[in-house]
């Protein structure tokens, strides 16, 4: 599903590589925590999987695509098969909850009929059915992250990439979000989640990949932080 082989990434202007000869295999349906201190290369790795960046050396294969060779006009179509959530939610402040979710379908050219059934479905799944017409500013942080999750999964992606989705939330709300992400994983979606939250990693006992200074120092199934 995701296959990273001998990947190095140098950013211009810094002598130390952000990633140094990293190899990683992730299978369909896996739930993987990426842990490590800030600057250890978690985000760089996620950007490579999203094809926001390409590696300096090595190869990245995601969903059968060689991301080093993919032509730039195919990138949008590749990204449609991925769902992404971030620490800072990234919602549009001038659109309602339903419009925020619908927007991501509109811009990839889905029909109005499809949008009208898919959006209430996914909002119901994340438990925001009755708040569909609220603006993002009227929602709590946890609710906003659930909107972002709804937007990420409305298109039924094969992979969900989550970059510290609980970073801005209190522990109780984090639990709700994690329960949601677990449900998404149980439905067959591969989840890759970068996090600093020791409690969550310890409780879930999933596969843990630890990075330090751009290198993988631990890859443990059923591990803790």
């Amino acid at each position: 599903m995701i296959s990273i082989a001998n990947v190095s990434k140098h950013y211009r202007g810094s002598s130390r590589p952000a990633l140094n000869n990293v190899s990683l295999e992730i299978e369909k349906g896996d739930f993987v925590f990426l842990v490590g201190a800030s600057g250890s290369g978690k985000s760089s790795l996620m950007r490579l999987m999203l094809r926001e960046d390409s590696p300096t050396s090595g190869s990245v294969h995601v969903l059968g695509e060689n991301l080093k060779k993919i032509p730039s006009r195919r990138i949008p179509f590749f990204r449609r098969k991925l769902g992404v959530v971030f620490q800072d939610f990234r919602l549009l402040p001038n659109k309602t909850v339903a419009q925020n979710v619908a927007f991501s379908l509109e811009v990839i050219g889905k029909s109005q009929a499809f949008i009208q059934t898919a959006v209430p479905d996914v909002l119901g799944m994340v438990g925001l059915a009755e708040k569909a017409d609220r603006m993002p500013s009227e929602l709590s942080g946890g609710e906003q992250q659930r909107v972002a999750l709804a937007r990420a999964i409305v298109n039924k992606p094969a992979i969900l990439l989550a970059d510290e989705p609980t970073g801005n939330l209190d522990p109780a709300t984090s639990e709700d979000i994690m329960a949601l992400i677990e449900r998404i994983n149980l439905a067959g979606t591969t989840v890759v989640m970068a996090t600093h939250d020791r409690g969550i990693v310890d409780r879930l006992q999933k596969r843990v990949v630890e990075l330090r200074d751009g290198e993988i120092i631990r890859d443990q199934t059923g591990g803790s932080y």
Partner: protein
């Protein structure tokens, strides 16, 4: 692609960058108006040239008592000289070029001068003697002035030969410079309009970077992301160009035709019809060019009636015709369900076209008026009549076929025609003076 969504995005963008959009509209408006003005000026120059060149005359100034000594050593022109000039103008060498000429003596020149410079102090000091006697020559074709100049320049007693067009050329060169300047300004402004539009697009993209980030994230295609921005520029530029078109029309209608034409009645000015004539600046194919003719048809058939029909052709066929490759032999026409068809005419494949070449003897539709088709259909039902193509040609750039309602000749008819032709040829030969060697 969902147009409602795209249009909503454009509307939002236009509102958000209102001042920038207004400036784009203004700049495109100004620059295109200057382009239009340059065009009007050029048309005006062309029109004035036509008008004035036709009226321009060649002046043959005769020596007067005050002419410079080195050109006119003998002083005032003699009556002999005048008769010589008149004789020369009426001679068989010059007469074909000259439309008319007339003589202006000192007193007439003085009168004209006083009229022309009425109120000017110079009029007081000039005497009749100082003004040259002049032959004014109007030519059939103003461009032939060189002939007059050459004939009279060196002649003793002639002070100067002057083509009035040389004065006009100065005026036109000034007008030309003005229109060039206006084109220059227009080019500069169009350039800045281009820069402004690109800046606006960038600004608009910046103010929407959140949406754009999300659009990219969820996999919106680049085309979908860029379309609203491009259309924003297009909308603004379109408004500007519509305004400038309106301005040019208004200038021609109200300023040139209304204001200038009322005050300068002896000048012909451009009008709206002329500005519409701009399309005529595009060279268009004129006249007829025969591609193929069917000479055998006249041998084999009695031609009753001919029609010119248009043809429904494909691109490669037209290219092939333009290369002059077609054969009408064995071609015939048919009428079916009120439609006329041309069958079995061979237009070879155009070698540069590949997959879009059709069969070379394709059935091709003829374009005829319905009453013509009705008439042909009625005739064809009668036995003995067929439709034969006589020739295939381009008329004003369009492929046409001359199709004839024809009746087949019997063998004796053909012999008869042949005999008649031969007799006629022999008769002609006998009548002509050529080849009579007895």
């Amino acid at each position: 692609m969902r147009f409602g969504f795209v249009f909503a995005e454009i509307g939002q963008g236009l509102r958000r960058n209102a001042s920038m959009v207004v400036s784009i509209i203004l700049v495109t408006f100004m620059s295109l108006t200057f382009v239009g003005l340059a065009g009007i000026l050029q048309l005006q120059i062309g029109q004035m040239k036509n008008y004035w060149y036709d009226r321009a005359q060649v002046a043959v100034y005769l020596c007067s008592s005050v002419s410079p000594q080195e050109i006119c050593p003998q002083g005032e022109a003699s009556p002999d000289l005048k008769t010589a000039i008149e004789a020369k103008l009426q001679s068989s060498t010059l007469a074909p070029y000259v439309d008319e000429f007339y003589f202006e003596n000192h007193d007439q020149a003085y009168k004209n001068f006083q009229e022309q410079f009425a109120g000017n102090s110079v009029a007081k000091y000039v005497t009749a003697k100082q003004l040259n006697e002049t032959y004014w020559v109007k030519l059939n074709n103003a461009a032939d002035s060189q002939i007059i100049t050459e004939s009279f320049s060196g002649m003793a007693g002639v002070e100067e030969v002057r083509d009035q067009r040389s004065y006009l050329d100065q005026i036109f060169s000034i007008l030309n410079a003005a229109s060039l300047a206006s084109i220059g300004i227009a080019a500069l402004m169009l350039f800045s309009a281009g820069l402004l539009i690109s800046t606006t697009i960038r600004l608009s993209a910046f103010s929407r970077r959140r949406e754009l980030g999300i659009m990219r994230l969820v996999g919106a295609s680049n085309f979908y992301i860029q379309l609203p921005f491009i259309l924003e520029g297009v909308v603004a530029a379109a408004i500007g160009s519509i305004l400038s078109a309106a301005a040019v029309v208004a200038i021609v209608q109200y300023f040139v035709q209304g204001y200038l034409a009322a005050r300068l009645p002896f000048t012909s000015f451009v009008n709206l019809n002329d500005t519409c004539e701009y399309r005529n600046l595009m060279p268009r194919e004129r006249g007829q060019k025969v591609v193929a003719s069917n000479r055998k048809a006249r041998h084999d058939y009695h031609i009753e009636d001919t029609y010119e029909a248009g043809l429904v052709l494909t691109g490669p066929e037209v290219k092939s015709l333009r290369a002059g490759r077609a054969s009408l032999i064995d071609g015939f026409g048919s009428v079916e369900n009120g439609e006329a068809w041309l069958e079995n005419v061979h237009i070879p494949e155009y070698t540069q076209a590949t997959w879009n070449n059709g069969p070379s003897r394709r059935r091709r539709k003829l374009l005829l008026h319905s009453h013509e088709i009705a008439k042909l259909a009625g005739k064809i039902k009668e036995s003995g009549y067929t439709l034969v193509p006589l020739s295939l040609y381009f008329k004003d750039g369009r492929a046409k076929v001359e199709i004839a309602l024809a009746r087949g000749k019997k063998e004796y008819d053909k012999r008869q025609t042949l005999k008649e032709q031969q007799d006629k040829r022999e008769a002609d030969r006998a009548m002509s003076s050529k080849g009579k060697d007895w």
